[in-house]
Symmetry: C2
């Protein structure tokens, strides 16, 4: 039997870490001295600790270890979990590279930003009822693109306008926003998560944004300033219509994107 200090040295896990793993029941000592509460570890603790140390070195989270460790009986089990982490790491690589690419794009647009007009055309329109096929989800604003393909597939040749999205939240949310991606259709479409309904016509404020999506907030600000100046009050859900946007395969030039924002007025 090893006391915690000895066990720490042979497993390369700190004493604090071992006590923590005891707490969360990831690695219990084989016994606890009744006199002085010393933790006592044995050979089987050692085998388990080596596995845990390996997983920890490869940045498994505690939750992942709690889930995987009990199922690891031999080297092939361990290897299987390691290969899963290997795949996760591929995602990590991809997302870091994606951020790098976005930075490059942003840096390019920063160079051109002097030529960018933040001059918006704002109109008040009475919109008619329109029939739309829509797909609801909860998530991030930027995820709209992920649902577009699904929606297109469901409506087939029935589309009569461009893709848009409805935003239902009173306030801005990082995540978990309630969103419906939609497209106007000439007849009812019901397929999987895609349903059809009528968007009621209403008096609305409309503003046209030309340029990349990360500058959309400028348009929202212009709309809000306009409403304050003209004593108007907006409500939800507001719409975005993607008049010109990225294609299915290629992104094109974000500087040429056109987006119409429509805010219903009370």
């Amino acid at each position: 039997m090893y006391r915690i200090g000895e066990f720490s040295k042979i497993t390369s896990l700190t004493i604090k870490t071992l006590r923590y793993y005891d707490d969360i029941e990831l690695l219990k000592p084989a016994a606890v001295d009744e006199q002085n509460s010393y933790r006592l570890y044995d050979e089987s603790s050692y085998e388990k600790a080596l596995i845990i140390k390996t997983l920890k070195d490869f940045e498994f989270t505690i939750q992942e270890m709690l889930e995987s460790v009990p199922g690891i009986q031999d080297g092939t089990d361990l290897a299987a979990f390691l290969m899963e982490k290997h795949e996760q790491l591929a995602l990590r690589v991809a997302s870091a590279k994606s951020l790098q690419r976005q930075i490059q794009v942003k840096v390019e647009t920063l160079k051109e930003v002097h030529t960018m007009k933040t001059d918006y055309r704002i109109e008040i329109k009475d919109l008619p009822d329109i029939q739309i096929a829509y797909l609801a989800y909860k998530g991030k604003y930027q995820d709209v693109g992920n649902y577009v393909g699904q929606l297109f597939k469901a409506v087939g040749g029935n589309a009569t306008g461009v893709i848009g999205a409805l935003y239902f939240d009173e306030s801005y949310m990082e995540d978990g926003a309630t969103i419906e991606v939609f497209i106007p259709v000439k007849k009812v479409v019901e397929k999987g998560d895609v349903h059809t309904k009528v968007l009621k016509g209403q008096r609305c404020l409309s503003i046209l944004h030309m340029g990349p999506y990360d500058l959309l907030s400028n348009a929202y600000k212009a709309a809000m300033d306009y409403m304050t100046d003209h004593d108007l009050k907006g409500t939800i859900p507001n719409r975005e219509l993607y008049l010109k946007g990225p294609g299915m395969l290629l992104k094109g030039n974000p500087a040429k994107y056109e987006t119409e924002i429509i805010i219903p007025l009370v």
Copy 2:
């Protein structure tokens, strides 16, 4: 002036985030209503918030923002900080890929593990005094390799043995361990952080480990078991001698590495 809810919408920062940024003085509102303590933001808050939102999207930490935001006056300033993050992301990519490679190596050795003997030769030796050139650092055990080149350069042709390391901590530490990388020398070397001293001879336990470094803990366990069985007590600093290890350019086959662990006895 915008109230926090409006400002949240036009900046795409949640209300909670804005309150937090106020707290930590990253983004103070332009004014606070004396009656009801409402935060009020203005145009200049908006400019600053857009910058902060951009940095946040690219995963700048709060500390990085606190440091960079006050210095960002125009697009070129922002672009410069973004390019710095771009480089950081390259490191992130590299470290994820490195982990992937290590996993592959580990999975390979797991396949061969059945043929691996954990049969150790243990000896008690009376070691003589030796003169060593050494380089002290505080950090991780695995960082030894980073200092080897520096040490080699300093000693030139005066080396009379293999590289080793001295470990001074009573207990295992993840980080901040006190370590000296050393090599025996025939004459005094004093160059930069490299100094010379005499390692006092002493009665020691010696154990030879053959195989990759991540299995070294097996050897430590064998040593500790042996000491327990023979009523011996080890002390610090213990030594590792890298009899056969990776080269400067290529790692070679870790299965063939040979490491001697030397633990002084009290």
